[in-house]
């Protein structure tokens, strides 16, 4: 069977910056941190694969490695059969990357202008670009707001723009880095429906998704890899993972605890001690979020 993504002992170490005293004491000593450690995964075409782990577990680094933004220290990986280090251009031709970072757009350009610009980077120009952009704006339900500046969009609309951009080149593999981050529960739920129904089931794309929401992973993914401190602890479907535990009615919390020895929820909570206050402040700055529809799904 052809795999969409294969990794073999994929490892990434980052050099840590030394303090002045440390530099003087050990000028040639190396301080390194291993962000991704000997990752071996094989993802089938058309699969919705999730990487679940707390903040700092290595999810984003793993995605950046596979998207050719970072070079591996050891090991190798293939995306759509192309080596990420040697055929990085071919890899980028066949992938889409969707990030939750709303800063990755030009805020003073309209939605349409943004997409047309990024289409040109995917080698779509003039008529072809306009046609593709129109299609995507229609798919994500932003056709009516296409000529408004990106800065006027709500958080949900910005995220839909990120999806439209990630699909510009009709990629075989779509990487999503915490796609529902920053969305309210309703918008997040609708986005999950869109990913599963439209992108995976209808369009048959392979989706590699990172998340630190257990419910999201469970609801969306065909298979999940639990990652902690850069290492994949276990891979399996949510049902398989839960059924392997002896405890009756196990949840993914239990699975995470079993394989990492850590309470998942507590760790997330420690990273964001005041999630409600953060949400209110964010919404206060951006105003009330306006709803929309994508592909028949409210979001």
């Amino acid at each position: 069977m052809g795999y969409a993504i294969e990794t073999y002992d994929l490892t990434k170490k980052f050099a840590l910056q030394k303090g002045f005293t440390e530099f003087l004491m050990h000028p040639f000593g190396k301080n390194e941190i291993t962000a991704v450690k000997k990752v071996n995964i094989k993802i089938r075409k058309g699969e919705l694969f999730g990487v679940l782990g707390p903040n700092g577990a290595g999810k984003t680094t793993l995605i950046k490695l596979l998207c050719t933004l970072v070079l591996p220290t050891e090991g190798t990986a293939y995306v759509n059969g192309y080596n990420i280090a040697e055929d990085s251009g071919k890899v980028r031709e066949s992938i889409g990357f969707i990030t939750a970072d709303e800063r990755s757009f030009y805020w003073r350009l309209t939605g349409q202008q943004n997409l047309k610009f990024f289409a040109s980077l995917h080698n779509f120009y003039s008529f072809d670009a306009q046609k593709r952009v129109n299609e995507l704006l229609d798919i994500v339900g932003l056709k009516n707001r296409a000529d408004d500046r990106f800065l006027s969009y709500s958080a949900g609309m910005k995220q839909r723009m990120a999806i439209a951009r990630g699909l510009l080149n009709d990629p075989e593999v779509v990487f999503m880095d915490e796609p529902t981050k920053g969305l309210d529960p309703g918008a997040a739920q609708n986005l999950r429906g869109f990913i599963k129904e439209r992108i995976v089931k209808e369009q048959g794309k392979t989706v590699f998704l990172s998340t630190h929401h257990l419910g999201e992973a469970e609801q969306l993914c065909d298979r999940i890899a639990i990652i902690d401190e850069g290492e994949i602890r276990v891979i399996g479907s949510p049902e398989e993972l839960k059924s392997e535990l002896t405890k009756p009615n196990s949840t993914l919390d239990d699975v995470f605890l079993h394989y990492t020895g850590k309470e998942f929820k507590e760790e997330v909570a420690q990273k964001h001690p005041y999630p409600e206050r953060r949400r209110m402040m964010r919404e206060g700055r951006r105003g009330v979020m306006r709803g929309g529809r994508i592909g028949g799904i409210r979001f």
Partner: protein, 269 residues
């Protein structure tokens, strides 16, 4: 297809620049100020430096007009590439561009294109004001020769700019190439005065800077109407700089991108 991509970058930057309308018009308005300053300095100097200015037609205002106009290309090259990287890093758009099939060197080069277009527009405005309002004499100009010098100048300065951008890619701030060229060019490159004014040992420094040949060639072409044959020394010097600097710039940038990808600092600032 590269030209279509270039058009996309220019369109993007034009829309972004004109979306800040007040700043856009301020920049246009203040162009007049620096040119007027040198016009009055020239009036004050009069014929005082005639012996040094004779090879350039003898008029200080025409001499300095070309100096300030075309030295802008060096500033643009030194800042344009590195600032475009830094701006995209700070805006957060660099990562989204780097996951597309367009390679990093193309993205960085095309991102600086708008700066060169704006600089060319500014040079044109300077020359038009200088000639039509303030009496600079360019009636003998050899425009074709000036274009040849201009193309070589842009190639040469862009290579230095790309080396500078390579440092920014790795160091993020404190690029030594930018500081070196920015601090030495006005003094040694002949922007405000002919390098003949400098003592002989300082002129040696002038001769290792591309801007010296660029401004010399441009002044001879526009003020004295020199032919390509007469401009050969300046053209040969600029070609020689380009032959060394273009591959050096491309290699430096390739190395910088690889290092940033290994270090995982490509989008950090």
């Amino acid at each position: 297809m590269i030209y279509k991509k270039a058009v996309s970058f220019i369109k993007r930057d034009l829309i972004l620049a004109t979306s800040y309308k007040f700043e856009f018009f301020l920049r246009l308005f203040f162009m007049f100020f620096s040119i007027l300053t040198f016009y009055f300095v020239a009036k004050l100097i009069g014929g005082a430096g005639a012996q040094y200015l004779e090879p350039y037609g003898g008029d200080y205002f025409s001499f300095v007009l070309i100096g300030i106009a075309f030295s802008g290309y060096q500033m643009t090259a030194l800042r344009g590439f590195s600032e475009s990287i830094r701006d995209e890093q700070m805006m957060g758009t660099l990562e989204a561009m780097l996951v597309t099939p367009t390679n990093t060197s193309t993205i960085i080069t095309l991102s600086a294109l708008w700066s060169f277009i704006f600089t060319s527009f500014r040079v044109l405005v300077y020359l038009l004001i200088g000639v039509f309002l303030l009496g600079a004499d360019m009636s003998d100009a050899n425009l074709f020769a000036a274009m040849v010098i201009l193309v070589l100048t842009i190639i040469c300065f862009s290579s230095i700019g790309i080396i500078s951008a390579s440092f920014i890619m790795i160091l993020k701030r404190g690029d030594p190439i930018n500081m070196l060229f920015m601090s030495t060019s006005e003094l040694f490159g002949g922007v405000f005065f002919p390098i003949a004014v400098l003592p002989g040992w300082l002129q040696n420094i002038s001769h290792i800077l591309p801007i010296t040949y660029s401004l010399s060639g441009m002044r001879h072409a526009l003020l004295q109407g020199y032919s390509l044959h007469a401009l050969a020394p300046d053209i040969i010097a600029l070609v020689a700089f380009s032959v060394v600097l273009v591959p050096l710039g491309l290699l430096a940038f390739k190395y910088a991108v690889k290092k940033a990808k290994v270090d995982g600092t490509l989008v950090q600032y």
